[in-house]
Symmetry: C2
Subunit: 587 residues, 2 copies
Amino acid sequence: MFLENINGPQDIKSLKIKDLNILASEIREALLDKMSNCGGHFGPNFGFVEATIALHYVFNSPVDKFVFDVSHQSYTHKILTGRKDAFLKPDHYGEVTGYTEPLESEHDLFTVGHTSTSVSLACGLAKARDLKGHTENVVAIIGDGSLSGGEAFEGLSCGARLESNLIVLLNDNNMAISDVNGGLYKHLQDLRNSKGTCSNNIFKAFGYDYIYEEDGNDVGAMIRVLQKVKDTDHPIVVHIHTQKGKGYQPAEKSREDWHWFPPFIKETGEKRKPMTGENYDNLVAEYLLDKMKKDPTVIALCAAVPATIAFDKAHRDEAGKQFMDVDICEQHMLSMAAGIAKNGGKPIVATFSTFFQRAYDQIAQDICINKCPVTILIRNGSVWAGNDVTHLGWFDMALFSNIPNLVFLCPTNCEEYFAMLDWSIEQNDFPVVIRIPRGKVVHANEPVEKNYSDLNKFHVVQEGEKVAVLALGDFFQIGEEVVEHLKNFSGLKPTLINPRYASGLDENLLNTLQQNHSVVVTLEDSILDGGFGQKIAGFYGRTNMKVLNYGLKKEFLDGYNVTAVLKEYGITCENIVDNILNALNRK
Amino acid sequence: MFLENINGPQDIKSLKIKDLNILASEIREALLDKMSNCGGHFGPNFGFVEATIALHYVFNSPVDKFVFDVSHQSYTHKILTGRKDAFLKPDHYGEVTGYTEPLESEHDLFTVGHTSTSVSLACGLAKARDLKGHTENVVAIIGDGSLSGGEAFEGLSCGARLESNLIVLLNDNNMAISDVNGGLYKHLQDLRNSKGTCSNNIFKAFGYDYIYEEDGNDVGAMIRVLQKVKDTDHPIVVHIHTQKGKGYQPAEKSREDWHWFPPFIKETGEKRKPMTGENYDNLVAEYLLDKMKKDPTVIALCAAVPATIAFDKAHRDEAGKQFMDVDICEQHMLSMAAGIAKNGGKPIVATFSTFFQRAYDQIAQDICINKCPVTILIRNGSVWAGNDVTHLGWFDMALFSNIPNLVFLCPTNCEEYFAMLDWSIEQNDFPVVIRIPRGKVVHANEPVEKNYSDLNKFHVVQEGEKVAVLALGDFFQIGEEVVEHLKNFSGLKPTLINPRYASGLDENLLNTLQQNHSVVVTLEDSILDGGFGQKIAGFYGRTNMKVLNYGLKKEFLDGYNVTAVLKEYGITCENIVDNILNALNRK
């Protein structure tokens, strides 16, 4: 076994090509073992084993600098740079993140998890190198869908004018997360079909030198092509063709499903814990497909993550022209939605919380200034969502709820979610954000409001006195628990409020509360800074009302445990009750 | 005179080419008269007169739909669509905005002021048209630098797959606001030089049909080319060559200066009120040039608005490799700055408040998660900045100050500004935003702090009792006035605090204030929602401290009067003093 002797890139430089091929097999085996246990970005990593070996064979990391776009394809890089144990030994599995991470290794330059930034980051590294008079190679590794993001073009255009070393390794596997669609990918196909010789070439058009390598999964071929470009004195694009999921049958076959895959049985590729029963993803897919049938102007848009609303291939085929996957182009998606709404269509736009922030300007300018009735569905806007530092779902609420004209809705259960969604699609006055509830489907105990046009009207779920608990969205259940607890153990009957709107205050209600309440508690599944609770505190600033805000802290956490974080932030029923009693001078 | 009879596009359709040429001259004369009085986007409009006439001659607006990118080139369009009086009659000058505005006319589809969105918006209009089974033409009008913004590429890539009518009119004048630099512009030059026939063609590469017209300032030629593409059943790019500033000598000669120009003397092109005396723009340019000379790793970056830091041609030449204008590529600029900082350079990034929001994701992910010591200089972050609804400077503080790891500084005078800037450039621990002060240069009355590493340490300018006034940045002078007024007319001696940091609280100081203060007043030149004052209110929520927040409201205003707005929002010394006395029960 070669792998057990690899403690850094220097250890592969003396190996022969045939040994490197064996090493590639060993790496795939380790990746398969680990990912079958832990899940992970399967396809991107299986497709990029040979290229990574070649990169470390030819270049001299960390002096030469690699920037992995998105960096979800960096598992082999981690294995080759002193972190093999985290892939070989189950009790060390947790020691590395799924992305490049400077805290782990000097071979990782950036914590990266969003796409399309690598060329720009590399331009910066190269520019600083030139200012300092150094000479190392700088390599941006981009592909797997990342090239469609607008910043990649900005980077390519600006990078072309560097009069020094800049190597863009374009890993072309003809896929984003889902299939690719845009004209860019037609062009890459033309380049692949012509082995890089077709007459139009956007890279050459921008001024890059260009080289094509068909056998991106052949170590020897990759070493030869990289040796050609090493120490280049000008910007060059190395376009390689690889196969996503290479070397594992199920992943080669179902490339979209296997982009990221949960723990599975190695022998069969079956998920260890298949998703069963009711869930918000499937419910919204069914709802939207039904809606589309009834109204040809309803259209759903995604940016390379159709799974956000469970639009698998069958659903996409069923929706036909009423569904668009715009590749990784969040900015375009939001502006296009504004255009659709302006011309009488009913667009529903869905992606993850963390990716919507890439289109802040389009939401603020094209949608909100223009009051275009676009429905924006935020998935994973929650502390319970993905816990990678680059994919936190804590920021969307403070970010978007402060944009004028935008209605930001936080449903607390299934029926409320679909009532809000239906209202949003059918109205013409407001841009609307709806945070998709997280976790197990919760059903309403009472009929839900159908019409949300009466903006910022909070819903009093239970009238009480002394204490009012305003619990938004996914934290509503914590609010219920607090109220229940106060009732049972202190004899208080607090008021419980579902604010529904994160983007504005029900000033009448808040004023009324002053008559027989002295403490207001706010709960939000989002950072406190800039959020809902602080608006309430601001509102009551000049009164005698005591306001206690509960929410997440303004910090970047990585790989956190939700229960521990909620405890640390004081978001537990026990602590909140305790603080309420203190505020009431009951303790 | 033809112009006085043009009340809508139908009125030009019967004119002969020679009459349309006369009309073009009349329009230029009207534009010259108005802009010499009011200022405006001179170059873009003078370059686009003939093309606009041809658009309205050939197409049938508003059934056929035009989307003007940025829309600062839409003056002729306004003249031809029933709004000529706003350009011909001085007492009507104020009746139209400088951008397309649906409230003015059904011929304007969107309020637009940021670049690079037109193709995406047009894709949306076209998609909705197709869903409804309609057949109108949709024309995106892009150019004048806008094509470099990443979203334009996203739009182009996604637009290529529309199997129906989409016309992209690329107005190529070989300029952004300043000169263009990136590989994209080299490519457009190749296309121009070859009259559209060169072998590489990014538009064809994406799948567009393509047509080139050299004489974009010739009405007849423009009519012929647009007639060819009208009612096309597939996406097509019409690449036209125009001259920025066409028809007015000074603007043809100094195209950068005349992109936007203040009121001037028609005969000479001299500004009516030349900028004289000390100003923050020139001071920072001098400071940076000096800094660059002493340290070759200092580098300033702008995105097509080098005037942000007064880097005119001479300054840029002086800075050499230590200055980069990255074209209109804010996302790239911020990521590149992260790369520069990571590799030991000292990047200073400058643009307008409203444009930084285009790079929120890059600031949050590449810069802040990675703690890259980038200095971000925000210009026009103020109610006193540009008052176009698309260029408001009220949102940056709430937007960026809530990102973890970011230090958001608000200097209150010249010396403090430069102390903060110098500290920021020389430290390695934090990403830093500095809001450039607005208006007349104010000098410090006392020595200023040199080291801002002790985060969130507010500066007590005057110790007092009962009332503490926390006045941030440009609103500090209002705070001084309030304190002075309270002292003079109520015998109070309030505490005056310059918080300096908008991104965090000085909790020690805030706790101490409770000993002998009962009212805290906050003042911020930014929206209250999500801002500084609400953080203070949240902090004091469970105490007896009364908190009064003053700042701007969460709303989009257009063409506002600052004094009226401040009065409406209660941000006047008189009102604030009144409210303080009320809160103290002194009234």
